[in-house]
């Protein structure tokens, strides 16, 4: 057990080093912070709102992540395949599962850092008026879980190809489905064509359904479990893909 932990940590550390050895990380951080700011203050109209809270900021996160996280995740495995380093990595005495988990956790921590850097917005609304800090805290938690879900999908799809662009397009498409399935228009359509229990299932798969609860300040164990199990399923699939087609 401790060896598995050691190996995972070893991959995790190498990955994290990799983020800061290349401009990718800094470009991602800057773009994320600028876009988050633009969406919140201009498009979301935070100034015009009567009450001081970060609802606009959080409601744009799913859309920001939809575009940015696939860009971050596309390299995770596609690049290993492309450069051949996957052969170096997987012939070390490290199991594919440990490698998958180490890479995912490093990417998740990195997004967590990006998220932590938006604390400026929190401070600003706190200064503008008394926001509900509890709601903001649960919203951050929800956002982190949402990021993990997008990342797990991106990592898994990145394992399917050596072409990063393909990985990117696949992840955006799948991510889009997970967001869309919560929209009323989609649900109405689903009601029209699907049996009732499946409509419920479609709604249950929606990122927005689970995310919006937390943005309203409610932590429901079911929402947390949903995101964590989704992460688990995609990481498991990621491991199976890596294990069964390492060399292609």
């Amino acid at each position: 057990m401790s060896l598995a932990l050691h190996n995972t940590r070893c991959v995790f550390k190498r990955e994290l080093q990799g983020y800061f050895a290349t401009p990718v990380a800094y470009v991602f951080l800057v773009i994320y912070l600028i876009l988050a700011g633009v969406f919140t203050w201009y498009l979301g109209g935070l100034y015009e709102q009567d009450q001081a809270d970060l609802t606009p900021f959080f409601s744009f996160q799913p859309w920001l992540f939809l575009a940015l996280i696939p860009a971050l995740a596309m390299r995770l495995w596609a690049e290993e395949r492309h450069s051949g380093t996957i052969e170096l990595l997987l012939t070390l005495p490290i199991s594919p599962g440990q490698a998958v988990l180490g890479k995912f956790l490093a990417a998740w921590l990195f997004v967590g850092v990006a998220l932590a850097l938006t604390v400026g917005e929190w401070i600003t609304v706190a200064w503008l008026g008394g926001p509900d800090h509890g709601v903001i805290a649960t919203s951050y938690l929800g956002t982190l879980l949402l990021a993990g879900a997008f990342l797990a999908i991106g990592a898994c799809l990145s394992a399917l190809t050596r072409n990063q662009v393909v990985a990117f397009v696949l992840s955006i498409s799948i991510g889009f489905l997970f967001i869309l399935s919560g929209y009323p228009a989609v649900l109405e359509f689903a009601e029209a064509v699907l049996p009732e229990f499946l409509v419920g299932a479609v709604q249950q798969m929606s990122f927005l359904t689970h995310f919006n609860g937390m943005v309203r300040g409610v932590i429901d164990a079911r929402d947390v479990v949903f995101f964590l199990s989704l992460i688990g399923v995609f990481l498991y699939a990621n491991t199976v893909i890596i294990d069964s087609k390492k060399a292609d």
Partner: protein
């Protein structure tokens, strides 16, 4: 345990009927052999013969379609991690993380191999000196020359002092000086390890290997020492003779008269030189040199050159690897 196998001269690599089929075509076809301590095995074959595929299966990177391999007694498909602990592997082209430095890469490898910190530091110093990469330790790998990259890959492969070293084309793409350095390095490690290296350079096999296996289209076509390989050459043991002031016909007739000589070949010579170049092939195992020198003395030939041919590895290689194609 690996040490003990080594001392007992137990096989370190045992391959049984190893087969890999891509789509429908076998890339590796029922390959079987064992490698014992002290052996340096040269894995020869034309491009696409299945050398890399075999090595990928040995190192647990690719699952075999059928058959299996044991490394230091560990079945690779059942316990890949245990097998991988015994192996140092340099994949083809020495892939390395481009954004790392050799120092950080070696640190990563030492941690991935759970080496104790003090031991890791000591081994790193040793291998860095051995492969000669001290000067580039803090440089990003993507800025290194091909030769340095290869050496960093080698350092990573031997860092944990593995019992079994698997090197896929370790000298490919290097200049002649770098090639010689890598060969020297391999020879220096040969005493206490099992080494398998693939190459398509025949001289390399003679320079570093104790044993050669030739594969083509996934099948083993030759397994023996480099000397045995050379002995397969049609010119092996033939005597080359250059004569001045003699007619080619007369000389070859005289040579053909010897019981030991089976046939004589007249080789094209330099027209300006007025030399007759002949090659006499023996009829059996009997030595040729003695009767031919006696004959030359009796005939009073003006001998400018006399040698026993060692045989051409290129020729043997071509013959062996094109035979299969002809059979199909």
């Amino acid at each position: 345990m690996a040490q003990k196998r080594h001392a007992l001269k137990l096989p370190m690599i045992e391959i049984q009927q190893l087969t890999k089929v891509f789509d429908t075509r076998p890339a590796v076809d029922q390959v079987t052999f064992t490698v014992r301590p002290g052996e340096v095995l040269g894995f020869l074959g034309p491009n696409g013969a299945g050398k890399s595929t075999t090595m990928k299966m040995l190192t647990g990177f690719l699952p075999p379609t059928s058959g299996g391999a044991r490394i230091c007694g560990h079945e690779v498909t059942e316990d890949p991690i245990a097998a991988q602990r015994c192996i140092g592997y340099l994949p083809e082209g020495a892939p390395l993380y481009p954004d790392m430095t050799p120092a950080s890469l070696l640190q990563f490898v030492s941690q991935a191999r759970s080496m104790e910190r003090a031991h890791a530091r000591q081994r790193t110093d040793e291998v860095v000196a051995l492969v000669g990469i001290e000067s580039v330790m803090k440089q990003r790998i993507d800025t290194l020359s091909k030769g340095f990259k290869r050496r960093v890959g080698l350092a990573a492969a031997i860092l944990h002092d593995p019992q079994v070293l698997i090197l896929d084309e370790p000298t490919d793409g290097l200049d002649p000086n770098q090639k010689e350095e890598v060969r020297k390095l391999i020879r220096s490690m040969a005493q206490d390890k099992v080494i398998v290296l693939s190459t398509h350079i025949l001289e390399e096999v003679e320079a570093v290997c104790t044993r050669a296996i030739i594969i083509s289209e996934g099948r083993v076509l030759f397994d023996g020492t480099p000397a045995e390989l050379r002995a397969r050459s049609t010119t092996h043991g033939a005597v080359a003779l250059h004569l001045a002031g003699t007619q080619a016909d007369a000389a070859s007739k005289a040579l053909n008269g010897l019981a030991e000589v089976e046939r004589v070949e007249v080789l094209a010579g330099d027209p300006d030189e007025d030399l007759v170049r002949l090659r006499a092939y023996g009829a059996g195992e009997a030595p040729l040199l003695q009767p031919i020198t006696d004959l030359a003395r009796n005939k009073n030939w003006d001998v400018r050159h006399l040698s026993v041919e060692r045989g051409s590895l290129d020729e043997v290689f071509r013959t062996i690897t094109t035979q299969t194609g002809a059979q199909k």
